[in-house]
């Protein structure tokens, strides 16, 4: 049962990663691209971490993987904010640039 849950979780993660990557390539302006990327970072990595932790089947490893996810969340949210802030200061006001 945990294996099936892990597979479902990892498959969903791949969907979010694919959507994030396509969004990064296809969306028209910087802020929308950042918006797409955060989906891959937050939900994609979260689901992937859940899947990997379930596959490992070990509480200690699970906690380590969870910590990795939390660290990436903090780093990616902050760096997205910094990129967006820089772009706003450079004169980009969002939609349509």
């Amino acid at each position: 049962m945990p294996d099936v849950l892990a597979l479902v979780s990892i498959a969903l993660a791949i969907v979010f990663y694919a959507a994030g990557s396509i969004g990064l390539l296809r969306l028209p302006d910087l802020l929308s691209r950042l918006h797409a990327l955060t989906k891959a970072d937050n939900l994609g990595l979260g689901l992937l971490a859940t899947g990997v932790a379930l596959l490992a089947g070990d509480l200690v490893i699970g906690i380590k993987v969870l910590l990795v996810w939390v660290l990436v969340l903090a780093a990616s949210a902050s760096s997205s904010h910094l990129i967006a802030r820089y772009s706003m200061q450079a004169g980009n006001r969002g939609h349509g640039e």
Partner: protein, 329 residues
């Protein structure tokens, strides 16, 4: 089936690496080249992990992608305004570099071919595994780096030290960045203690699992880089005298330990088996601090503010004035 999938994965990995390396070198835009180079470092880390060399994977990710990336980006900031457009045609020096690279490629290919296909397959790994018990540690990589081939590691530390002497002699450090947004300073404040703990963990775990002085030192240097980006001008380095001591601590402790075992009728760096583990830990702690200091000074890009006090020529005074103003900004 799964075997075939791994082959496919390896082929994609190898193809990506060669492609990324090519694009990183061939691109005319410096900034793009640097970012691609950082990506290449991460890809190399994955390859090392795939080759079951997690020690190297850690070192490559921390130093090759992380610290080297930070150094290159900092250097790029100095270059802003300088045209990155290469001259037309093919200059003699460029041709020389190309020839050197091709020669190196051929020599390395020959070495690999010889090692894997032509010679009888004698490996040192078996010897290491056989005598691991005498080394004082359980991690074979640490056993080789700090015991069986400690001399090489000592010389590596000397190379790092010599490189930093070069950096320090270039001139004053880059002016610090202004303290940025609250989000960045908040993140830095949150990350620094975690990274210090991780560095300590990597250092300690090196005795029996992947980790060690170089990875831990790179992690501490990452703390310095983060502090600097968060607006802390001295990047967490202590005062002038303490920083100088930290810089020589690694080599100093290494040499002192190596020489003192000679009083017990042993060769240079031939540790007695029963205290080898402790000696290795002492050397690794010193080496970690020195590597971190060296990498942090390299990121500063020159002498930190206040280092010129004892060589007060007019030129130096001008430089120091500029550095001080930058530091206060």
């Amino acid at each position: 089936m799964s075997e075939l999938l791994w082959v496919l994965f390896d082929l994609v990995l190898a193809g990506l690496t060669v492609g990324l390396a090519w694009v990183a070198v061939a691109t005319r835009e410096l900034r793009r080249g640097v970012l691609l180079f950082v990506g290449l470092g991460l890809l190399l880390a994955v390859i090392w992990a795939r080759l079951r060399a997690p020690d190297l994977a850690l070192a490559e990710a921390a130093i090759g992608a992380g610290i080297a990336g930070a150094l290159l980006i900092a250097a790029l900031r100095d270059e802003i305004g300088v045209s990155a457009e290469p001259e037309d045609g093919y200059t003699a020096s460029r041709r020389l570099v190309d020839l050197g690279a091709i020669g190196l490629l051929l020599a390395l290919s020959w070495g690999l071919l010889d090692a894997f296909l032509l010679s009888d397959g004698v490996r040192l790994a078996e010897g290491v595994a056989e005598r691991l018990g005498e080394s004082g540690v359980i991690n074979p990589v640490t056993a080789v780096l700090l015991n069986f081939r400690a001399y090489d590691t000592l010389l590596e530390l000397a190379v790092v030290f010599a490189a930093v002497l070069g950096v320090l002699s270039v001139g004053p450090a880059r002016p610090a960045l202004e303290a940025g947004s609250l989000v960045l300073t908040g993140l830095v404040r949150w990350l620094v203690p975690i990274l210090v703990v991780v560095a300590g963990y990597l250092l300690w775990v090196g005795a029996h699992a992947p980790g060690g002085a170089f990875q831990a030192g790179a992690m501490l240097a990452a703390v310095a880089v983060l502090l600097r980006l968060g607006g802390v001008a001295h990047a967490g380095l202590p005062g002038t005298a303490a920083t100088r001591w930290l810089l020589v601590l690694g080599i100093g402790v290494f040499v002192i330990v190596g020489l003192s075992v000679m009083f017990a009728d042993r060769a240079f760096l031939q540790y007695p088996g029963d205290i080898a583990g402790v000696l290795i830990l002492v050397i690794e702690i010193a080496a970690t601090l020195s590597i971190a200091t060296a990498l942090a000074l390299a990121y500063l890009g020159g002498r930190p503010v206040g280092w010129e006090a004892d060589c007060d020529s007019p030129q130096h005074r001008v430089n120091r004035g500029a550095a001080d103003r930058g530091g206060d900004a």
